[in-house]
């Protein structure tokens, strides 16, 4: 397993040199803000195509639900336009990961092909598993599964991911 990881890492290493092509810097900057969930909810085949469409002025900045309000604000800042709320019919959901019910999995490999970030491991006719910290929560593996054995689980806050809350209190105006 560890050795497999190493080889895969090596492949990724040289591959990244080979397949990278020169990018438009604006597209890169937009893409850097997009969450890389690769879910396609924006109506494009992934974050990069959406970034390209924004750069060409062909798409609005409020189409990415995983990025949420925060992502929209940062896109607005980058492009020097007004921030707006998430587009019609889109909804920001809590971050989740996909989980395969390993008792039901028939090893059909359909989910592997659907996963945009290669987060699913398994071979034909063998049980498949999702590597949780690679899963972006895009949900693209759900529809292809013929036995509906994949479901989404919301990631809960733990001590390492917990954040201090924004301090809330009302500020009393100074008396004149």
């Amino acid at each position: 397993m560890a050795a497999g990881g190493l080889t895969l890492g090596a492949v990724l290493g040289w591959a990244s040199v080979r397949y990278r092509v020169q990018e438009d810097p604006l597209v890169e900057k937009i893409d850097a803000i997009l969450p890389q969930t690769q879910c396609g909810q924006c109506g494009f085949a992934g974050c990069k195509p959406y970034a390209e469409a924004i750069a060409k002025g062909e798409a609005d900045i409020n189409r990415c639900p995983p990025g949420g309000e925060d992502g929209i604000r940062r896109l607005a800042d980058l492009l020097g336009v007004e921030a707006k709320s998430l587009g019609e019919g889109l909804e920001h959901k809590p971050k989740s990961v996909a989980v395969i019910d390993e008792d039901l999995c028939i090893g059909c490999t359909l989910c592997i092909q659907a996963c945009p970030v290669d987060a699913i491991v398994g071979a034909a006719k063998q049980m498949h598993t999702i590597v949780a910290d690679r899963c972006t929560g895009c949900e693209l593996c759900l529809p292809p599964c013929p036995v509906e054995c994949i479901h989404m689980e919301v990631i809960h806050e733990d001590i390492t991911t917990w954040k201090w809350r924004y301090p809330v209190y009302s500020i009393r105006p100074v008396r004149e």
Partner: protein, 551 residues
């Protein structure tokens, strides 16, 4: 006499030390149930070594250090593990964390403890032992000590500082430890000095602890050590590692760096004490001194076994008095409110303050910042807290970093002096944790982008390879056809293939011919299983189509 270097600002909050110094350190009583978190240090939590039902002895490792920044965790008494599960811990979030829950058997039997001859040991072996004995910084930061005991590339540090400043109000655990156990602290310092090849050893103590100063000076003399007891003026936060380093050496710790980068290493006196016991007796870190003070019947310091529920500890101090309004873990300046009294004492807990409405009134309502600059005058990190506050409040995290947010040591001096009662430090904690979370998200997104780019590239390559394969095959077929016009064998194969295609087509049309004639029991079983599986799927036809698409 050492020349002291005064740091900027600071504050003089009411000390409230006398409450808990009237009584000596007492051993906290054995309790029926211990809850021992596997994360009691900065870094990776220890890996559990026991399961529910296991019997354990005092000092037995129940969690193994995992990864580099980590330390082991040990059973505080003998008994039976009843669970390894999530339990509430003393953390500002009030969230649960993985704990080993031990039901004490009352016998308190220990593992066989062996003194360790550390002087003859190979340095890295010694450091690993210290990690496995669970030693971490006991001043509150709980950083694994073995890492700090590595002299690094330089091979030595110039100055080893023992931190006995204890500048936070109410807390007196280091004070009492120095008064009562000075020799053991110094023996620990000797080990540290040897491991770090430290040129000099300085013990910094605030001048509001005359008994501790006298005890440490006497012990240094008696033991014939050339250490210096440096008395520093009482001014919060002189016990901050960066502040004490500057006070005693005049050296500035670099931004986002550590004292070791300027040739100084700082340890809390409690850590030196723990290190001495760990090596002289082979005794892992299973207890520490904790101040229990505030609105309790008899405030006192206790030597407490790690894992003791805080409610039991409060009971040991005579229990809370009428009108208690909650507990603070740590001091009032940097501590936090406890959310669940069942949470246990850990290596990080040096003080429990029971609050009452008089001494801990709810904070007055804040008013708008008048830009008076008091906070900047008080800030020991020489920041501009009011600017930082402005940007943190507006969630402009980029700007907060420009104003050196990460140099803030969260001492709370700015909040303490603000005439508008703004809790500035709460905003800085908020901003820091937001920035950390964003960095984590950014890293995850970058990794996802790389994997996606690879994925796209891989699909493209596979498509290309397939096309090339097909092209080669077509060429070969054409050549073959030219070479052998009619081959009986090929015709026969083609007929078989045609029949198979025909059968598949029929199957799709729902005629389902069952070729179940000459099956082995093994095959029969597989078919049955497949049928069962198919039956479980609802719309058969739809799914059939899907599965046929598979390669």
């Amino acid at each position: 006499m050492r020349r002291l270097h005064s740091f900027n600002g600071g504050a003089h909050p009411a000390e409230h030390k006398a409450e808990s110094t009237a009584r000596p350190i007492a051993a906290a009583p054995l309790v029926p149930l211990y809850v021992v978190p596997l994360r009691q240090h900065i870094g990776t939590p220890a890996l559990p070594l026991v399961r529910a039902g296991d019997r354990v002895l005092r000092g037995q490792a129940i969690g193994q250090a995992e990864g580099y920044v980590s330390a082991s965790v040990h059973a505080p008494t003998s008994g039976r593990v009843v669970a390894v599960e999530m339990r509430p811990v003393a953390h500002p979030s009030g969230l649960a964390d993985l704990c080993v829950v031990i039901e004490a058997d009352g016998e308190d039997r220990a593992i066989d403890l062996q003194p360790l001859d550390w002087r003859g040991m190979e340095p890295s072996h010694l450091r690993n032992l210290i990690r496995d004995l669970g030693l971490v910084g006991l001043g509150g930061a709980v950083f694994p000590s073995f890492i700090k005991l590595n002299p690094g590339e330089a091979g030595r540090v110039e100055t080893l500082i023992l931190n006995g400043a204890e500048c936070e109000p109410w807390i007196t655990s280091d004070d009492l430890l120095m008064r009562e156990r000075a020799r053991e602290i110094l023996k620990g310092a000797e080990i540290m000095q040897a491991m770090l090849h430290a040129g000099e050893v300085v013990i910094g103590i605030e001048d509001n602890k005359p008994e501790a100063i006298a005890a440490m000076q006497a012990a240094v003399r008696e033991m014939g050590l050339g250490y210096e007891v440096a008395v520093v003026p009482t001014r919060y936060p002189s016990g901050g590692a960066k502040q004490l380093t500057y006070l005693l050496t005049g050296r500035e710790t670099p931004s986002r760096g550590h004292a070791v980068e300027v040739g100084v290493q700082v340890f809390n006196v409690g850590t030196a004490y723990g290190l001495h016991h760990a090596l002289a007796e082979g005794r892992p870190l299973i207890s520490r001194v904790v101040t229990v003070t505030g609105h309790v019947a008899s405030p006192q310091n206790f030597e407490v076994r790690l894992g003791t529920p805080i409610e039991d500890l409060i009971r040991a101090a005579g229990g809370e008095l009428e009108g208690a309004t909650g507990e603070i873990i740590g001091g009032p300046m940097m501590g936090f409110d406890l959310q669940d009294r069942a949470a246990p004492v850990t290596k990080a807990v040096n003080c429990v303050i029971v609050k009452d409405a008089q001494r801990f009134p709810p904070p007055p309502a804040p008013r708008a910042c008048i830009r008076c600059g008091e906070c900047a005058r008080a800030c020991p990190a020489r920041l501009q807290p009011f600017e930082l506050y402005w940007y943190a409040r507006a969630r402009d995290f980029g700007k907060t970093q420009l104003f050196s947010l990460f140099d803030c040591i969260e001492c709370g001096c700015c909040s303490h002096v603000c005439p508008s009662h703004i809790s500035l430090v709460d905003f800085f904690r908020y901003a820091k944790s937001e920035i950390w979370a964003r960095e984590r998200e950014k890293e995850a997104a970058d990794a996802a982008r790389r994997r996606h780019e690879f994925h796209v590239w891989r699909l493209e390559r596979e498509k290309q390879e397939k096309a090339e394969r097909l092209a080669r095959k077509a060429v070969a077929q054409v050549k073959e056809a030219e070479a052998a016009p009619v081959d009986a064998e090929a015709a026969r194969k083609k007929a078989i293939l045609q029949a198979a295609i025909e059968r598949a087509k029929q199957a799709r049309e729902g005629v389902t011919p069952r070729n179940v004639d000459h099956l082995t029991p093994e095959q029969q079983h597989q078919v049955e299983e497949a049928d069962a599986r198919r039956a479980r799927l609802h719309a058969g036809a739809e799914d059939q189509k899907e599965t046929e698409n598979q390669p």
